[in-house]
Subunit: 371 residues, 4 copies
């Protein structure tokens, strides 16, 4: 396969993360062509050029449509704010590019649907940046479950918590506007939902409660403004096979920084994981005499593929950015027509459908079945 030509729109944190991945994927994995970092788009020309130098791209533009039209570009990384995803991803797909779009798809469900439609029409690879599923530990958990290591899973708890909205004195900003979405549900819950989907499939029924820890927030210019969405959400869920699940998401949870805590209970054991300690997980198996049964803390190791591509020794630890490199490799695999672990636009749309159902269940104070 010829080297893929890469276009990158947006150079915030996720843009940088994509750039790092495109730079590193060949060195880490070896068995791909080194991508050509062709074109980078940013809001203005100066920044675009500065970032192109920083991130190692050949061309820079303030006009993302020029990037999309660039024949040397094969794949477009879309890392701009959520409200631009639909327009850019659709344009890229229509221009015949593969698309690697950051999550979530779009604030409005209809836009997300249009994105999926465009992907189908273009017949190109279109994936979402749900990188937590790329953690070798998560992959191994999937293997363990499929092997029956904890029997048949019957109960799940998942928590996603950070504390960037925890301070009641933080000034009101766009994250608290209704136009930014439901709050914890779409800002946060989509990540745990991507993990649940990856491990168990999609939710079938949900009922949510949503809460505003703070009714209003101070304005920089003085006075206060009511908070329009919900920093906390708690959801009872049913997945396929009768699995009962609880999802808790809170972006006002003091002390939590990047917590995505999973508890998986099965008929012969259980598994726990917390993203804040992303290089380990715990496994309990009821297969010993009771005097020695306990949760085993297992550190990431080369045998948890593809950890070995990064480090040949166990217990040394991958970083968050490394997950993006793995995701990049999976994307290339998908483009090459190989089996891959990715979240397609189709999967992503279903995740967002769940989120909308949760919000609806809250407003209607009743269980919602998801078709």
């Amino acid at each position: 396969m010829a080297p893929l030509g890469i276009g990158l729109i947006g150079t915030g944190y996720m843009g940088k993360c994509h750039a790092l991945a495109w730079n590193a994927v060949k060195t880490v994995f070896g068995d791909v062509e080194r991508p050509r970092l062709v074109h980078l788009a940013e809001a203005n020309d100066d920044l675009a050029h500065a970032r192109a130098v920083e991130f190692g791209f050949e061309k820079a533009t303030a006009d993302w449509r020029a990037l999309v039209a660039d024949p040397e570009v094969d794949v477009v990384s879309v890392t701009t704010p959520n409200q631009f995803h639909a327009e850019m991803a659709i344009a890229a797909l229509e221009a015949g590019k593969h698309v690697w779009c950051e999550k979530p798809m779009a604030p409005a469900y209809a836009d997300a649907e249009r994105m999926l439609k465009a992907a189908k029409a273009a017949n190109k690879v279109a994936i979402l940046g749900y990188n937590y599923i790329q953690n070798p530990i998560i992959r191994h958990i999937k293997t363990l479950i499929s092997e029956g290591a904890i029997g048949v899973v019957n109960h799940i708890r998942v928590e996603m918590d950070e504390d960037f909205m925890a301070d009641p004195d933080t000034f009101f900003y766009w994250k608290s506007e209704l136009s930014a979405g439901y709050g914890a549900l779409d800002d946060f819950a989509v990540h745990p939902l991507s993990l649940l989907w990856y491990l168990f499939g999609h939710a079938e029924a949900v009922i949510a409660d949503m809460a505003k820890p703070y009714a209003d927030r101070p304005l920089k210019e003085g006075g206060r403004r009511p908070v329009e969405n919900h920093d906390a959400a708690n959801v009872l869920m049913r997945l396929g096979g009768g699995i009962s699940a609880v999802l808790m998401a809170n972006r006002a949870a003091w002390g939590r920084k990047g917590r995505i805590a999973l508890q998986l209970y099965g008929s012969s054991g259980s598994i726990t994981f917390d993203q804040e300690r992303m290089n380990e997980f715990e496994l309990y198996q009821a297969d010993r005499r009771t005097t020695e049964q306990g949760f085993r803390k297992i550190l990431a190791a080369p045998a948890h593929r593809p950890y070995d591509r990064f480090i040949p020794a166990p217990g040394h630890g991958l970083g968050f950015n490394d997950l993006k490199i793995i995701e990049c490799r999976e994307l290339i695999r998908a483009i090459s027509g190989e089996p891959s672990s990715i979240v397609t636009f189709e999967d992503g749309l279903r995740i967002e459908k769940s989120v909308h159902a949760m919000a609806q269940s809250y407003h209607q104070r009743r269980w919602i079945e998801i078709a």
Copy 2:
């Protein structure tokens, strides 16, 4: 005050635990009269006499009514199976005794109401054995909350999990019969509810999901029998002051042995606790520069009263049975008319009301407001 005369009905685990407490309370606390262990009742005469010797009681009987009628008995510990609580507690109260009854009050709400009525009529101290609230750590958490150490609490999660029902091959026994109650809800959830009540008051609205990890269980005599109640329950709750809470209870959670895990989130910090490590808690306070903010693991210490009555050095650890000794001291305090930390029949009835509302919300698939 003259020494209290003690009667003990039932000598299973909780009976032994009461006996240990009555034996130790004077030595530990010093500032009470040493109780007289007067009368012990068990199902048959031989066992009653054997246990009386073991536990240090003067008299033994197979007729609990004789114990209740004994004029030398001032307080009756009721530690028999739940279905006997109402009859015994009411008889004791009617005989003018104080009552220390193990939780829960009674399987049927009406019986629990009768117990409360009897307590009011007798004007005696009538408390329930919710000993987890007696942990010096839990008491200190209450102090911290009242001091505003984590600001205004807005979100709570509480999990209670064990694994004695986790093995699908365990034979069907009475715990899985409907007559034994809802399952996780009344068997387990009452404990976390006692903690929530102690710290924050009672639930105002609930919606629950309940699940059967295993539809049926093998019978010793061959064949299988459907499980009639639910080993797992998950509840969305609202407490006073708009606190959103999630309660999860599961007696089929492999690897959990005595877990009662609390997460309390407030406007300026958070607190976590797990009964499996009952001698420590974690406190996060947002009062440092960000480079040093973190959860502090705090070990039980003499300054967490009344830990000091047991051990004068920090970090050495109380045990589960010690909580019962503290509870015993609180009971004596209540009998003496002093302020005390106890769960009265009135408080207990409200806890059970919540449980019934949860079960109702599950069956009706809707939120239930609790008057």
Copy 3:
């Protein structure tokens, strides 16, 4: 066997702890006679009588020799400051009593030797209060080692740390006087040494470093006084079978409250334990595929005997004082001529011999072989 008559000398923390144990041992274990709490001695008459009431003893005296002479006393608990141990224990032995003496034996090695001699001459049970070895978890670790669960042990690390001497502004008091002993070595190291002895036998060669975190301390009356002994000690050791060990003891280690941390490395696994979480231990066994190898955190459970005598459910937790009850049961077992887990004066003397060798190795800056 007739009930044992108990005499207790000293009613500080350890005195109370003995009293609690003598009060509880029958109720907990059932299979012994309930001891008679006969006689209690304290420094003055008022306190002696007050404590006798508190602790449930029949008689009280300010003259411990009267207690020792009391024909109703069969066993004497010696819980006074270390400098009195020898005189009291020897007197009790000479009066034909069994002795339960708190550790260590005596500040001077010669006195400890006299104690052993007296025990031998009296042919009575004479044990030391090294209660950490009574933890069901520690007992189970011994079982695991003897079963070969971690293969042949070849390396050990043990740390004992508290922080009551950590504050440099704490006034000088007797603990810092040379007459109080070496400091960390005899105040602390004896506990881990009792564990090592219990699990592996005695040290064969040692070299120690000792340190004074603070050269002097303030005096209440003004001015400062040089610290005369060492709050920290670190020791390289060799045990039998070529086991290399490191012992670290520090009573000026901020943040440590009751830490006794063991790391045991063997040819097929390893074990860790920390007294601050005395109801759990960790076990690593190299008997799985590498993707699932990890340290298992195992909670104390009924199958770890005699935890079951206290609580029939796993994960609920014993307390520090419960270890004394177990020790008391072992003492009774020894008195009855049954096999028991105790630290005899003979074992204790050897522990103290190690400590003196360590101090010597520090002053002579060389390895010392222990005969």
Copy 4:
């Protein structure tokens, strides 16, 4: 500054790690010139060319001297086995290149001395790859210590453990030959020593014990061969300012995968860290009332510079390889004449001097003072 031309000798794990760092340093840090990956050397031509493609280098050679002579190369990364370091690093320095050499310098102290001499003569930047000191957490610990956050440090414990030599059935291979060095001491202890040096300076006096967990190992061809060096080493140390320290290193410690555990005790607090959880550390400060004192677990955050250059959100986690990128940035800083955190050949030589003194102290069974 013009872009640095990079030469890389060796493409094992560390070679790859250097390549990843050279690839990423510009994208991560922005404020440097993107290095030119000029020349790569490997043992044979085919592998050299394959790796050059993988790692993104322009030229490839089987003759490392050609690389050293390449005028386009400004910096040479030396990542070959230890016995080649001296020859290659000296040649590179003599050719006027800066050198980034993996630790340790050389098996023989005389060779290490020659390396330092060459660095001085060349007046070029010559550093060693002790990347653990680059962890933002370790840097912040240094800041905390210099700020007096835990007062004056008086006691240190450091453990470095892995288990790749723990299996007695592992065949004998070169790591167990005397020619490979002392064993745990130079293979492992140098890492903790680099941390101690970075935080506190060099050791002043040492006494070590070394141990062979297994006297011999099986040979692939049958039979057994005696192990010639020591998989475990324990060292008592004194650092400047009277700090007492204990260093434990063990490459046969089952269950340990990449453990470098630090305990730092000071006059007003303490700090702990473990490389297996490299994104967190614990801080205890004695500045609260006793009811709230505890070890705070602090997660890596942007304010721990330069974590922010990788990730703008706290708690997401760096990986082991990221430390190499930071080290690379520091090297560039040093080459630019800016202040930097590096381990120069001078520092490295002193570390190795300590190691040799430790080995000497073991063989002579006495304390060794290090000039």
